[in-house]
């Protein structure tokens, strides 16, 4: 049963398994564990990011495509719900319609991008997506009649999901179950289902082919896989999941604007989470999201304490100033690419020699040990 749910892709490390179970339980009982709006907001964001990051990992870690336009789909999902809800008024119909239209739009765009990506070199592609993402964000703020421009859209959700709604006045386990809590559990369920679906996809025969294409596109084509088709499907799938994540975010925030879902900063966060968690492991998305968002939300508080402690040393205090939280995040970023090339998940798995299990993808050997030999990776010279 668990086997089927996890698509036979077990954490393969006791510690990793324990962390995942802990994360799951923490998210499942969050409203009862830590009271307060801030904690609930962080937890909800973790749920959304698990889906968003996992969908990006399908593209980056499994297919080897570096796209900076992923937030575009995230934004489309959020705008879908936002525009439908603000035009049609609060209601499930608006959510459903908005999500569907967004999915359709994402599908078309991802298809176009997927086909386009084959015309240009991989590295070109990532720079081009960067330009596109920027243009799309500008477009979203230009179409202000639709999107509310820079200011974004504030809208309402169906009664049951609104903070004003309460299930019953009597607290359950010390907590009054209001619309916000219900909304949280809606996200929780959606996130769990989508996560398991992605886990299944990467462990399907299709997922394996994606990895083969990532490793050696030329050879994959030569043994009979139509790279175009697989790549395009992967782009589309990852776009669709990101769209759903966007819809989830909009439902939770009851607000959407260009900075909220389309900004480059979000893209950076997503990249960072993938790296910290471990590329090419869907579990990494979950762990990374958990770690990163909690750190991000409480980093400033932490820094405030730290800079207070070293107030005597002006230089250090300036560096530790809570205003410079990004500095530390950037440092974390660099260090994790440096020291955790395989992320938390890769590290934990490596702790345990995985020889006994039929593990088709043990973590790659540390990059430092084997300098890249051109004949084994990258652009293949077709002759011979």
């Amino acid at each position: 049963m668990l086997n089927r749910l996890l698509s036979n892709d077990f954490p393969r490390s006791r510690l990793l398994g324990a962390i995942l179970v802990l994360l799951f339980l923490a998210l499942a009982f969050q409203p009862f564990l830590i009271p307060g709006i801030k904690a609930l907001n962080v937890a909800a964001k973790v749920l959304v990011f698990i889906v968003l990051v996992a969908s990006f990992d399908l593209l980056l870690g499994y297919t080897g495509i570096v796209s900076f336009a992923h937030t575009m789909f995230f934004g489309i999902g959020a705008y879908g719900v936002a525009i439908a809800s603000s035009r049609m008024g609060a209601g499930w119909g608006a959510i459903a319609l908005g999500t569907l239209v967004a999915l359709a739009l994402s599908f078309v765009l991802a298809l176009a991008i997927g086909l386009f990506s084959l015309r240009v070199r991989a590295i070109f592609f990532s720079m081009i997506t960067l330009a596109f993402a920027a243009a799309f964000q500008t477009l979203a703020s230009q179409l202000s009649d639709f999107t509310g421009g820079e200011d974004g859209l504030t809208f309402r959700m169906p009664e049951v999901l609104s903070p004003g709604f309460t299930l019953s006045e009597t607290p359950f386990l010390g907590l009054v179950i209001d619309g916000r809590i219900l909304c949280y559990y809606l996200l929780f369920a959606t996130s769990t289902v989508l996560f398991l679906a992605l886990l299944r996809i990467v462990n399907s025969p299709f997922g394996r082919v994606l990895q083969a294409i990532r490793e050696n596109e030329f050879r994959a084509e030569a043994i009979g896989y139509r790279v175009v088709v697989y790549r395009t499907i992967s782009s589309i799938l990852s776009a669709l999941f990101a769209t759903l994540a966007g819809a989830m975010l909009a439902i939770w925030l009851r607000y959407n604007g260009p900075d909220t879902t389309l900004s480059f900063e979000i893209m950076l966060d997503v990249l960072l989470i993938v790296v910290i968690g471990g590329m090419g492991t869907i579990y990494g998305a979950a762990i990374g999201s958990g770690l990163f968002l909690v750190a991000q939300s409480y980093l400033q508080d932490l820094l405030r304490l730290a800079s207070g402690a070293v107030a005597g040393l002006p230089w250090l205090a300036a560096l530790l100033s809570p205003d410079r939280w990004l500095l530390w995040l950037g440092l974390l970023f660099v260090l994790s690419v440096y020291y955790f090339p395989t992320g938390v998940v890769g590290r934990l798995r490596a702790l345990r020699a995985s020889a006994a299990i039929r593990a088709p993808f043990p973590p790659a050997a540390p990059a430092a040990a084997s300098p890249p030999t051109k004949s084994m990776q990258g652009d293949y010279v077709e002759n011979n």
Partner: protein, 241 residues
Amino acid sequence: MSENLLTLAGVHTHIGAYHILHGVDLAVPRGQLTMLLGRNGAGKTTTLRTIMGLWRASQGRIAFAGQDITQAATPRIAGLGIAYVPENMGIFADLTVKENMLLAARGARHARQMDDQRLQWIFSLFPAVEKFWNHPAGKLSGGQKQMLAVARAIVEPRELLIVDEPSKGLAPAIINNMIEAFARLKASGVTILLVEQNINFAKRLGDTVAVMDNGVVVHAGSMRALAEDEALQHELLGLAL
């Protein structure tokens, strides 16, 4: 004649978590051609790479011309007068054949400054090098690349020439040329260390021989002695030469 230009004593090499060489002892006598034989995966390539400093020896000592090079950096090792042809040929695919050659000619800043006489000799051995002089090296055929790799190693005189499987993929006519080239080089005083699977090659050229298995040298001696002792061949290489 029996002075050793290169000696390895008890060399161990680790690659990541793997322990590949388990104490290699090897002596390459000056002015002679030494063959390094052994089945696939015996550790021949690893030995050569360790000599060049491309892997670090974790134990043991490597000396070249009286100098300890165990911990030296690759450029310094090469600078002492060693030319190396790696197993994967190390062709710079995006550069032209000419540029590949020019890089190996350390003294020359332009193609014009390369030793023309020597070039002509190389062209006569490996006609493809001349024919594709201005073509990107990546477009060469497999055998042509192999020719370029060897040509590049001999573009300037060096004291020691280390070659990993020079004959693979070459047509018989070119193999002959290559054997000829190594013989000439040896005659001019160059010391040569070859890893080779082609038995004719080994028998015709080898002065001394070392056979590796499982990361150690299991036999060392003169080529002639090995060639005459069929039982030993069977034991070491699983075949008769």
